[in-house]
C-alpha cells in the first residue's frame, strides 16, 4: 500500500530524515513510533505530499487517502457542514444518504452533530480532532493516516477511535498511525516502525515484535521502544 525508499529530508541545516525506508501492507494498522523530533510527522507529510523529499521516493497505491493531523486547522469562515460537503466532493446540495452517513459516523465518534452548524474554530480541541476524523471517515478512505490519533481526546472517545481503527482494518482499510501512546498502539497495531533522529531503526510486524520483546526480556512495547530509542 505504501512503499518508501531511502527518504531524506533536510530543513536548512537540520537533517529531519535520513534514508528512511519501509513498506506498509494493505489492510493493516501500522504504528510509527519515535521520540519528539524523531521525524514521524515529517515522514507522514512526505507520504501525503505536503513535503517533498530531498532524495528517495514514496509510492502510495491508488485509492482514497484520508489524513487526520495532530492539531487540525480549518478555514475560519466555513462551518462544519460546508467542510464536510467539500470533503465529500459535493460543492453544492446536501444528499440525504450523506447526512445519514455523517450522523452514523458522528455517533461512533461521540461527536454532537449540532456542532456542524458552527465553525470548527469554535470547537474544543477534542471536538476539532473528532471533526477531523468525521471529515475523513464520511468519505470512506482506503488509506487513513493519523498523526497522534488520541491527542486531545477523552477516555471514552479514545476507546471509540480505537474501535474505529479496528473496524477499518477489518474492512480492508490501511491505517498508518504516528503516536506516543505506546500502550494503545500495542493493543491495536499489526506492525511498528521506530524512528530515531530521522532514521528508521526498526520495522517489524507484531509477531516479530513479540519475539523481540521476549528476546530482550521486555515486559511491554514501552520497554522495547525505550531500549531501541536509547532513552
Amino acid at each position: 500500500m505504501i512503499e518508501a525508499h531511502r527518504l531524506s529530508k533536510k530543513f536548512g541545516s537540520v537533517q529531519a530524515l535520513r534514508d528512511v525506508s519501509f513498506k506498509i501492507r494493505k489492510g493493516a494498522i501500522t504504528a510509527m513510533l519515535g521520540e519528539n523530533g524523531a521525524g514521524k510527522t515529517t515522514t507522514l507529510k512526505v507520504v501525503l505530499g505536503f513535503l517533498r523529499p530531498n532524495s528517495g521516493n514514496v509510492t502510495v497505491a491508488p485509492g482514497r487517502v484520508g489524513y487526520v493531523p495532530d492539531r487540525p486547522a480549518y478555514f475560519p469562515w466555513l462551518d462544519g457542514r460546508t467542510i464536510l460537503d467539500l470533503a465529500a466532493g459535493r460543492a453544492s446540495g446536501n444528499g440525504t444518504d450523506s447526512r445519514a452517513r455523517v450522523l452514523a459516523v458522528a455517533r461512533n465518534l461521540l461527536f454532537d452533530p449540532a456542532l456542524l452548524r458552527r465553525r470548527p474554530g469554535t470547537y474544543s480541541a477534542g471536538n476539532a480532532k473528532k471533526f477531523a476524523y468525521l471529515q475523513n471517515l464520511v468519505a470512506g478512505p482506503d488509506l487513513l493516516v493519523v498523526d497522534e490519533p488520541f491527542s486531545a481526546l477523552d477516555p471514552p472517545s479514545i476507546k471509540c477511535v480505537r474501535d474505529i481503527f479496528v473496524e477499518l482494518r477489518d474492512a480492508g482499510t490501511t491505517v498508518l498511525l504516528s503516536s506516543h501512546m505506546l500502550s494503545e498502539m500495542e493493543r491495536i497495531a499489526d506492525g511498528f516502525i521506530v524512528l530515531r533522529r530521522g532514521t528508521a531503526i526498526a520495522h517489524a510486524g507484531i509477531k516479530e515484535w513479540r519475539l523481540l520483546r521476549s528476546a530482550r526480556t521486555a515486559p511491554d512495547l514501552e520497554s522495547v521502544f525505550l531500549r531501541l530509542a536509547g532513552s
Binding site: 510527522t41 505536503f50 478555514f75
Partner: protein
C-alpha cells in the same frame, strides 16, 4: 497540470470567504452608493470617470490574504489538499477571485450602463473602458497573489497602495516642469524612450490608468504583466511545502 476538479471547491471556499469578510461587504456596498451620490451631485460623466478608474480596486481589496494567511493557518494541511493539491488550490484561487469580483463589477456595469442609457449619457467607449478595467483588475489579482506569498494579512495590498502613492508623488513633482510627464499623459503622446518607460513603470504599479484614453496603448503591458504574475505564482506554488 492544474487539477480542474478543484475548481468547484476553490470557488466555494473563495466566494464564502469574500461574503464573510466585513471589509469586502462594506466596500462592495459603499462603492455603488458613492457612484450614485457623485452622479446625483455632479453628473453621470463624472460618476463614470470614478467608476472606471476605481472598480479595478475591487479586485485588489478581494485579493488580500490569498496565500500566506492560508499557509500559516494550517488549513491547507487538510485531506482536501493531499498529494500536493494545495498548490493547485492556491493557483486556482486567482481564477475564483477574478470570477467572483468580475461578476460583481459586471453587475455594477450593467446597472451603471442602464442609468446612462436612461439619461442618454452612455457612450460606446465605456464598454472598452470596462474591458480594460477588468484587465487591470485581473492584473491586481495576479500581482497581489505574488506579493501574498511573502506578505501576510493584507500587507500585500498595503504594499501596493504605498508603491502607487510614491509613484503619484513622483508624478506631481514632474508636473512642475513646463513640459512635464502630466502633459504627455494628457496628450497621449510620449516623446522619447524615457517618458515611455516612465509611463510603462507607472502603469505597472497603477494599472487603472489604462482606462483613460491617453494610456490605452499600455493595455498590452498590463496583459503581459498578468501573464507574468500568473507564471511567477505557478513557480512559487510548485516550490511550496507545508509544515516545515
Amino acid at each position: 497540470m492544474l487539477d480542474t476538479a478543484l475548481f468547484p471547491l476553490t470557488w466555494r471556499v473563495t466566494r464564502t470567504r469574500l461574503l464573510a469578510s466585513p471589509l469586502t461587504v462594506v466596500a462592495g456596498l459603499a462603492f455603488p452608493a458613492f457612484l450614485f451620490w457623485v452622479g446625483l451631485r455632479d453628473s453621470y460623466e463624472t460618476a463614470a470617470k470614478f467608476f472606471f478608474f476605481l472598480f479595478p480596486y475591487a479586485f485588489l481589496v478581494a485579493a488580500q490574504d490569498t496565500v500566506r494567511t492560508d499557509i500559516d493557518s494550517g488549513a491547507l494541511e487538510n485531506v482536501l489538499f493531499l498529494g500536493g493539491k494545495f498548490r493547485d488550490f492556491l493557483w486556482a484561487k486567482n481564477f475564483a477571485l477574478a470570477g467572483a469580483v468580475g461578476a460583481y463589477v459586471l453587475g455594477l456595469f450593467i446597472l451603471f450602463s442602464a442609468w446612462g442609457l436612461a439619461s442618454d449619457a452612455f457612450k460606446s467607449v465605456h464598454v472598452v473602458q470596462f474591458a480594460l478595467g477588468l484587465l487591470a483588475g485581473f492584473y491586481y489579482v495576479g500581482l497581489a497573489g505574488v506579493l501574498s506569498y511573502f506578505l501576510r494579512a493584507g500587507s500585500n495590498v498595503l504594499g501596493l497602495l504605498l508603491a502607487q502613492s510614491a509613484a503619484l508623488v513622483a508624478l506631481l513633482f514632474s508636473a512642475t516642469s513646463r513640459t512635464g510627464f502630466l502633459d504627455y499623459a494628457a496628450s497621449g503622446h510620449f516623446p522619447g524612450l524615457g517618458s515611455r518607460l516612465l509611463a510603462g513603470g507607472l502603469v505597472a504599479v497603477l494599472p487603472n490608468l489604462v482606462v483613460s484614453r491617453s494610456l490605452f496603448v499600455f493595455g498590452a503591458e498590463v496583459l503581459a504583466g498578468l501573464g507574468l504574475t500568473l507564471l511567477v505564482q505557478g513557480r512559487l506554488a510548485r516550490r511550496l511545502e507545508l509544515g516545515k
